[in-house]
Structures are given as C-alpha cells and as structure tokens.
C-alpha cells in the first residue's frame, strides 16, 4: 500500500484514504475540437513507464485534488504538490 503525503493536510496517509485520478496533464478539448482532438482527449493516455504526473484526491481526508509525481516502475512517490502549482523542477 502506498503512503501518500497530502499537500493540504501535510500528512503522510495510507493509500486507501485516496482516490487515483489519472494523468495530471490533460487539457479539456475545446468546443471547436475535431473528432481526432476529441478522441485524443477522451481516450488516449500517455501511460508512462517511469516518473509520471498524476492526480489524486484525498477522498477520506480533506477531499481535495492534488498532483503527485510517482515512478510507475517502482511505485515510489517522488513528490506531491497542490493543484495549480507547477511541476517541481528536477522531477
């Protein structure tokens, strides 16, 4: 089980308190998007093997979404940071 640090609660908590929210870098396709752009936004994912930026929600805690950099090969969490903040340098 992962131990995840919630950047709002500033505590390391067990994974079962959180909900995984998928790839963090998705930008919603605009109303004017073509079929290809919609397809890409709706279904296609980076599926990164290595450090990936992802979203988690502290569902049983503060309830807020935040970002996480985790190495998907080792499952090691590199860092977590609040929504809207830039990805930390060097991650």
């Amino acid at each position: 089980m992962l131990l995840i640090r919630c950047p709002y609660c500033e505590m390391e908590r067990p994974e079962i308190e959180f909900k995984y929210g998928g790839q963090a870098t998705l930008t919603r396709a605009p109303q004017t998007a073509t079929d290809e752009e919609w397809t890409d936004f709706l279904y296609f994912r980076e599926n990164i093997r290595g450090p990936q930026a992802e979203r988690w929600r502290h569902a049983v805690g503060c309830g807020r979404f935040f970002n996480c950099i985790r190495d998907t090969l080792s499952d090691k969490i590199i860092t977590t940071y609040k929504s809207g903040e830039p990805r930390p340098a060097g991650t």
């Binding site: 992962l2 998928g22 079929d35 397809t39 279904y43 296609f44 994912r45 990164i48 998907t72 499952d75």
Partner: protein, 416 residues
C-alpha cells in the same frame, strides 16, 4: 520430435535423460518478413498461424525477457466466452471453439479442462445483467444458463449459499463448457509448434527502437541483440504496448494496471469448477497440482511494477472466506501481479495503426488468456493480408474515433 506413447515409453526406459530441447534458440538473422514483438501466448500463436496457415517463411518473435514470462505465466487460466456483444462473442467464441482440439493440433498437452465457469449474482441488478448475458449468448450460439442458489451449490458443493451472508448468492450464470488450461503449456506448445515450422524465437531481445523509412513506413527494429530489418511488425506486448508503440510515435488508448493473483498451498481436490464473483471480487479454481488459484482485483493506480498493494489481495481473500468458509484456514503460497493493458471499453484492440507496416494486438486487459488461440489466429490473418477478417474488424483502433465502442465492462469480470 513428436510426443506419443512410444516416445514417452522410450524416454522412461532411458530415465528421461535425453529429451531434446522443445524449441530452437537461434541468433537473430539480419532480416525477417514479419517480426512479432512479445513472446507471450498471443504473440507465439500469431507466429504459429502465420507459418501454418499463411505460409509466411521468415518470422521472428522477439521477447525482452523469457518466453511466456509476462501475463501468460501470471494469469489465472480461465477460459470462457460469455461476453455480451456480438463482436465479443465472435472473437471469444472463435477462441473457445479452438481450445478442445488444440492439444492434438500442437501435439502438446495443454491440460484443457472444460469444468464449467460459474459467475455468482449477489444482487438484483447483477441477476438481471447476467440473465441478459445468458439470453444474448444463447442467440449467438454460446452456452450459458441460469442456476438457482441450490443448483449453484450442487455444482460447487463448498459454496456457501447461506442467506445470512452480507452478499448472499441469489443465483449464478453457468457456462458449462468454460474451464481452464495450463497457461505455461499454451506458451510452450505454441513455441514448440512455431519453432518446428521455422519461426525464430529470440528471447532476451528487447526492442529499443522502431525504424521507419522516408514515407513513414516501418523498415526495421533496433534490439539489444542488434538491428533487424523488416517491413511488417506486429506488436503483442500486453501491458508494455504503449511503451513499444511510442517508439513509432503512436499513442494508444491504454492504461496499464497491476492485476494480482494468488495460489494456496496444494490441497486434495475440493473445487470442481471455476467460480467467479464480480460484486465482491473474488474468483477461484483449483489447479491439477492442487493449489487454489485465486484472482484478485487491479490496483487503483497505473503501474508497471508487476506487484501491488496487499490490501487488494486481502480484500479478495476476505471474500473467498465468506463464500467458501471451509477454506478459511488455508495458507497462501504465492502472490504476484501482472501488468494488464486496459482499454476504455474493456475490449481488445486488434488492427492496423496509422504507421504503414505496423500492426497491434493489445488491450486484452484482465482477460486475455482465454482468447489466445483466436487472437493469434485472426491477428495472423491481419499480418498476412494487411486487412482484418470479419472477426477482427470491429476491434480496430479507429473505433475510439467513430464511437463504435464494444463495452464489456460487465463481462470483464474484474472490477476496474
């Protein structure tokens, strides 16, 4: 070498000292007509049918690890075809009809055992969903029937149908001709038969790049055992498909998750069938060696770690103990994870890609083992002719753009 009573007797008299190697381990040739990436069951079956039915002479299967060491060696060996939609009944039914004679065809004992696959319903909604599957399956000529709780217990005597359970058994859908086969033997059998027909199986040969010519078409791969020229590549890399396809700048609608399984210490025969429960997420059968083979769920997060959280496996064991109280003190022997490539509609992707000469067979997610022969068979046709046949056509990558999705989230039997 052909397995027969005579060859077994001869080897027995010699103390089983000089069985030959089951397949060749050649060095890579500079060029092949077709290169298949991934020596799991699906990739090896593809190579076998390419050589056998399409007379392709010069085929390589490249594998970064050892043959059958990925999901082929990690799955829970369930075979069934009780999916909802016609397209799924097409491909899973095709595979299911190939299993009964496959051992004879490959001259290799796959230990295919159609002992029945029973899926339990624990609430009214599930009962309705399973009955809908039963009617749809019958229309498609696929066996599936409804059992009352008493009939379910008769079929699987160790099952608890106590109405006091937190999630009581309200009935079950039974596919009598569903069952299991020995997963490793499927990989070994196809490898041996393909090797006999001249297919080069190149283990410890990881693809590091996909080369393309000026027109964008593939013209080779780079591997850890040197470059290989080819005009046709079939990627059958399961959980690592996105990683391989990224080498050709092709994005995929896939996410890779760990799916866990466990086996218990060996027991005397106690479990006569495969029993699955979607709602409380447990499924189980017993191997011929006596181990209870138990399927757990996927972990919540994308991962390539081939492991997973203990809480996922223990939740499954809690469900097993509730359904089969007689097993509550059985000890678990091993627990592992495999990386499954899941698609948004829980159906596989089998088709052409935007890159000429590059084909993909992936997205089998949590339930690809059962489809191994059918998947290899239709993918071989696609690689040989360049066009999918009627069974494969609905599973094209393009369906995510056209919207012709094949939603099998209910039939997938693993909650994601």
């Amino acid at each position: 070498m052909k397995f027969s009573f005579v060859s077994l007797a001869r080897q027995a008299l010699r103390g089983h000292q000089d069985w030959p190697e089951q397949w060749r381990s050649p060095d890579p040739k500079p060029a092949y007509e077709v290169v298949i990436v991934g020596a799991g069951g699906h990739g090896l079956a593809t190579a076998y049918y390419l050589a056998k039915e399409h007379a392709v002479q010069n085929i390589a299967v490249v594998e970064k690890g050892w043959l059958g060491g990925g999901n082929t060696g990690r799955n829970t060996t369930v075979i069934r075809s009780n999916y909802l939609w016609e397209a799924s009944e097409g491909i899973y039914g095709h595979a299911h009809r190939m299993w009964p004679t496959l051992s004879q065809e490959l001259n290799y004992n796959l230990m295919y055992s159609p002992r029945g696959v029973m899926m339990l319903a624990h609430n009214h909604h599930e009962e309705q969903a399973f009955k809908r599957h039963i009617y749809a399956n019958r229309l498609a000529g696929i066996a599936n029937e409804w059992l009352t709780p008493e009939q379910a217990k008769q079929f699987c005597p160790i099952l608890s149908i106590d109405p006091g359970l937190r999630y009581p058994v309200l009935g079950a859908a039974l596919q009598r001709n569903g069952g299991t086969a020995r997963h490793d033997a499927v990989a070994w059998g196809y490898a041996r038969a393909a090797s006999d027909r001249g297919v080069d199986i190149l283990e410890n040969c990881q693809v590091t790049a996909i080369r393309r010519d000026a027109s964008g078409a593939v013209n080779g791969i780079e591997t850890t055992r040197g470059p290989i020229a080819t005009r046709k590549i079939g990627v059958v890399a399961a959980g690592h498909t996105s990683v391989v396809m990224a080498m050709a700048d092709v994005r995929m609608p896939l996410e890779s998750f760990p799916l866990q399984a466990l086996v218990s210490e060996p027991l005397k025969p106690i479990m006569p069938c495969v029993c699955m429960s979607n709602a409380i997420h447990a499924y189980m059968s017993q191997s011929d060696k006596g181990e209870l083979v138990i399927g757990a769920g996927t972990d919540a997060y994308l991962s390539y770690s081939q492991t997973g959280g203990l809480h996922v496996a223990s939740a499954t064991l809690e469900a097993i103990c509730e359904l089969f109280p007689v097993l509550s003190r059985v000890r678990m022997l091993r627990n592992w994870g495999g990386i499954v490539d899941t698609t948004p509609d829980r159906s596989p992707i089998l088709g052409k890609t935007p890159v000429p000469g590059l084909f993909v067979n992936c997205g089998w997610g949590t339930g690809g083992f059962k489809a191994t022969p059918g998947s290899g068979h239709v993918f071989a046709h696609l690689l040989a002719t360049g066009e999918p046949n009627a069974i494969a056509a609905p599973f094209a990558l393009d369906r995510f753009r056209t919207g012709a999705l094949i939603n099998e989230a209910t039939a997938a039997a693993v909650a994601h």
